[in-house]
Amino acid sequence: MKINITYPQPGKEQALRRHFIAALRWPFLFAAFICPVINAVVGGKAWSAVVVWSLWMVWSGAVSPSLVEYNRISQSIKSIVNACVLLILIDWLLAPGWAMETVPIVCFSGLAASGVLFFTDLQRQKQNMFPMMLLTVGSLLGSVIGLSVWHEETRWAMAVMGAVAFSLLVGCVATLGPDFLRDVKKRFHTK
């Protein structure tokens, strides 16, 4: 059977990326498996949870990023949420006592940065608002709950987080008007 080649020869970079991901998969999986095992055998604090989450952060952020909604807003929100989870894990499992202040600071700083990214490229980014809105609503709720149950001196961070989230929400509603409602309808459709 004689085959007449009628397609161009694919570039090497396509195969390289595939090989790169395939080569990294096993070291990542091995590390994610062996760390909890060592941790369980040696005992002590659950440091392996922090390692596993960090591995996940690197894998999902750099090696195998999101296939849908891979834009500057969604990626910055994903990084903020992942970083917050990592901080909470470190505080909870390894060195307690500081996350209640640090996590809100990371959140409001991240929200402010996302707001800048959003409003400086509004026409293109308005289709990408949803992840930012989810974090905004989450931060608002976190702030309300935190301020109601937390009575330490470090409440300022919670208050600022709530204020930034509220301002961002109002800013988006005011700027986008009917488009904001349309986006909410799209994002929560069940059809």
């Binding site: 080649i5 991901i21 195998s64 834009n71 293109r124 289709q127 799209k186 994002r187 929560f188 059809k191």
Partner: protein
Amino acid sequence: MKQKKKISMSPYDLYLHTLSTPELTALSSFWEEVDSHCTLSKKEKLRLRADYESALLAFAALGVPVGAALARMGVRHLGGFYARPAVLWYPLDDAAKIYPLSMKQGQMAVFRLSVYFKEDVVPALLQMALTFTIKRFPSFATTVKKGFFWHYLDTAKRRFVIEPDTGYPCRPLKVGRSGSQSFRVMYFHKRVSVEFFHILTDGTGGMVFLKALTTEYLRLLGVELAEPGSVPDLDAVSDAEETANEFDRADQTEKSAGFMEKSALQMSGSLSRARPYRVLHFKMDSDALKAAAKGKSSTVTSYLLSQLFLAGRYATDELQGEMSIQVPVNMRKFYPSKTVRNFAMYCGVRLPLQRITKAEDILPEISRQLEEKASRQAMSEMMNATRKMVGALRFIPLFIKAPAARMVYGFLGDKIFSNTLSNLGVVQLPAPLDGYIDSMDFVLGTALTNRAGCSLVTFGHTATLSIAKMTADPSFEERLYDLLQADGIDITVEGSAPCED
């Protein structure tokens, strides 16, 4: 000594110098009209203008006077698409919902339709053809977005682009970036190919788009239709039915056929990391193919299924079990519809390995199963099952659904089938367009465990059977070639080189 600065002129500037004053005036007012029909971002506007300039140069090279060129690219062909903000969005149809849930790095449901012209493609005119065609397909002028419960298609107002065909066919599309396309239009010598993410459309819908693009491209080249109205008017308003999710129209049946079946045998070659490993096209004379099928008192689909079973049997080392070939069924034949969204179901023709001996022996069983399993009743049951499943999952958040679906899909995948045969049927284009086209082909996207996926499309006197291979083992295609040759069908084999694995 002072060096004189060299003023370099672009080909378009040089072209302008060849125009007369009335032509320059006409061109100037043309640009004003284009500007008034485009409210895209400044960058996109500049690119659109560059497309027009390249097209003007291409027309000049073809010897088309500037007046005729401007008339062919008149702003009425832009319509209001580039002047209005994006407001439309589309929930995914019931069949499409699985595609974004199951995709992962390097694996995406992509299929490809190609048309082979008799002359080399003029890229600048193909780009303009796409610019004018896309407005008629609003559900294609979209980008995939993630909702809380389901993915959806959001309108993307941008300049949709063509690209040279450089990579391997049916490779995943990058759909994640803001406003990114869920299809790609490519050119290579005489071939124009469109690769679609299955989320947008099925083979039939994709073919409607390719025919429209082809018609528009040929119109720009100056080919006028003998009978206007024989192809959809690209400047007409889109009909809601063309973007409808037609799964709601299923007959209410008491039974809902499930999707679960026992695993089928797979061909024995090891799976390649690159998907597809290679693509092959068996180009055959359609009359000879029909005659071979008729000689065995069967339809073309049944006949080819019998040959695929025989070739598959040859390509496996297994001695026990069943082989099953998936046959997609176009639901438009039961529920007439103009939709260009997904509207296809599938059935599986299944045979025990020991029974696969000679075409004559298995053809009656293949025809019986096809008649029974691809009937309106059976397909309606499957549509109902799909609707029920979608309904049951509708309130489960995507972050729970997606990993579960990926796991189930990864576990089950396409293991219940050994192969696929999708027959798009005979594609027709009105005169004189058909005289400019040599043939067409249709390549199925990547499979998970199946070593091959086959598809057939006929244009004019050429039937093209395409095989997307997922293994380096050539046993299947070589046997199939021999079987078809033995039935008196002459075959020209074309395809891609094996992929670097």
